[in-house]
């Protein structure tokens, strides 16, 4: 009896696999078709220089030490190193003024490493 159960399970398994061939493909042909991202997706960070008060919390909470904030009186300089960033979103959650937002941009591959260093100045902008 056990043997018959096993054979039956084998047949059911094959039928199940065969049924998959009638289902919709899940593959996306990448550059032409893109994935629909969730709202909470954490991509490349974006600074809003107007809101920044230069408190430096983002520098302290960053586990990868990708952010550096310099405050001289009213002038705020912030350096951001995307090659170190792990997209954890800590800076976004801890920022008291919501000056940092993680955008949904994820195509960050580049052949020039200088593209990954971003420098912000409050008075000058990006």
């Amino acid at each position: 009896m056990i043997i018959f159960n096993k054979i039956w399970a084998l047949i059911i398994g094959h039928i199940t696999v065969f049924k998959h061939s009638f289902k919709k493909r899940v593959t996306l042909e990448y550059p032409e078709q893109k994935q629909v991202l969730p709202e909470t997706f954490r991509g490349k960070p974006v600074w809003n220089c107007e809101k920044c008060i230069g408190c430096g919390i983002c520098e302290r909470v960053c586990p990868a030490a990708a952010v550096k904030v310099d405050k001289n009186n009213d002038n705020i300089n912030s350096y951001f190193d995307l090659s170190r960033c792990i997209m954890c979103g800590n800076c976004m959650y801890y920022c008291p003024k919501h000056a940092i937002r993680l955008s949904s941009e994820y195509e960050l591959a580049t052949d020039n490493k200088n593209d990954l260093y971003i420098y912000f100045n409050k008075s000058e902008g990006v």
Partner: protein, 366 residues
């Protein structure tokens, strides 16, 4: 081959080419046809396997090179041809180079033994079924040599597994073949096919008296081809790539070519033994219905026979791929146990059953 021979000589004489040229070139033609057919079939099979596995896992498979990725295997082949052949340090150079050839040549001979239509048989021996089975077991020598000469642990383990596997599964296969030979009272593959010709068309096929034998044969063939769930010799997750770990370039391509060529020809063998080979499913040749009173009717029938055999073979290949998509790999010990404790007794039982059926059907006359 007589019909084709006269046809060939006739065509040559039309262009004032002497008959002696035809006599010399005619035996070479089958070789050329087989070589061309193997390459086309393998290119088709590799792509088909990737596409079908994609189908079963809800992916698309190759879809970039050419329309729907049909040129993918051609691109792969060009890549393999251009690659460097690396000899590992400490390898036995001669055996290392001979092994891929020893694996590929039997596959090519097998293609010659298969009767594609009633006239289109390259090597027609009276014991071609026996010859087929014995040559089908030959590639394992090449595999063992490849494993031994590579100077690599994984290769040796893969080769030993392959040797153990072939010993286990050759025996049930022989018993099933014996029962088929018993039904058709011939060892010639063409005669085996013609013994499935009868007034009941499909019901005359050997699969109906010998269904158990078909299952045993199918499993044994999977084991002999080193395919899932019996792909222990090249188990990727345990042994890197088994016996062909060290091989690269054209030598690896030969292993690859041999694997798929044997897969196709083994499925053709199954179709011949159990599904009536080149006999039509409809009971009567379709070209006979369409082109009655045509001087080329005979030729059309031969072509149709080839198409019938190919359809049956491709369906069997599809099932082999379905099995690969479904089942996980067996353990080495389970594999042996399954063969010696389950398949061998069953195949003997099948043989005895077939003998009894034959005795009753023939009215007790021996």
């Amino acid at each position: 081959m007589n019909y084709l021979y006269f046809w060939y000589i006739q065509i040559l004489s039309k262009y004032n080419i002497p008959k002696i040229f035809g006599d010399i070139t005619f035996p070479i033609l089958p070789f050329c046809i087989v070589a061309a057919a193997i390459i086309v079939a393998v290119l088709f099979l590799v792509l088909a396997e990737r596409k079908i596995l994609g189908l079963f896992t809800q992916r698309k498979g190759p879809n970039r090179v050419g329309i729907w990725g049909i040129m993918q295997t051609v691109a792969d082949a060009i890549k393999l041809l251009c690659k460097q052949n690396v000899d590992p340090r400490g390898a036995d150079k001669i055996l290392y180079n001979v092994a891929p050839i020893l694996v590929f040549v039997p596959a090519m001979i097998l293609w010659g033994i298969i009767p594609y239509s009633s006239e289109f048989v390259f090597m027609n021996f009276s014991v071609s079924a026996l010859l087929y089975i014995s040559i089908a077991a030959l590639p394992v020598i090449g595999i063992i040599l490849a494993g031994y000469s590579s100077n690599n642990k994984f290769s040796v383990i893969g080769a030993i597994r392959s040797g153990a596997q072939i010993i286990c599964y050759e025996l049930p296969m022989m018993f099933v073949l014996l029962s088929i030979v018993l039904i058709s009272s011939s060892m010639n593959l063409k005669d085996i096919i013609f013994s499935q010709l009868g007034s009941f068309s499909i019901l005359n096929w050997h699969i109906f008296p010998c269904f158990l034998g078909f299952i045993i044969m199918f499993i044994s063939i999977l084991a002999e081809l080193n395919r899932c769930p019996f792909d222990l010799p090249e188990a990727e997750s345990e042994l890197v790539a088994g016996y062909n770990t060290e091989y690269s370039g054209m030598r690896f391509a030969l292993f690859f070519l041999a694997e798929y060529a044997t897969m196709f020809v083994m499925c053709a063998f199954l179709a011949i033994l159990f599904f009536g080979g080149f006999l039509p499913v409809t009971g009567k040749y379709i070209s006979e219905m369409i082109f009655s009173d045509n001087q080329f009717l005979q030729l059309f029938i031969y072509i149709e026979q080839v198409i019938w055999l190919m359809i049956k073979t491709i369906l069997l290949v599809f099932i082999v791929m379905l099995v690969r998509a479904t089942l996980p790999r067996l353990g080495s010990k389970e594999l042996m146990k399954f063969s010696w404790y389950v398949l061998l007794p069953l195949s003997m039982l099948n043989f005895i059953l077939i003998a009894i059926i034959k005795f009753i059907v023939d009215g007790g006359a021996i």
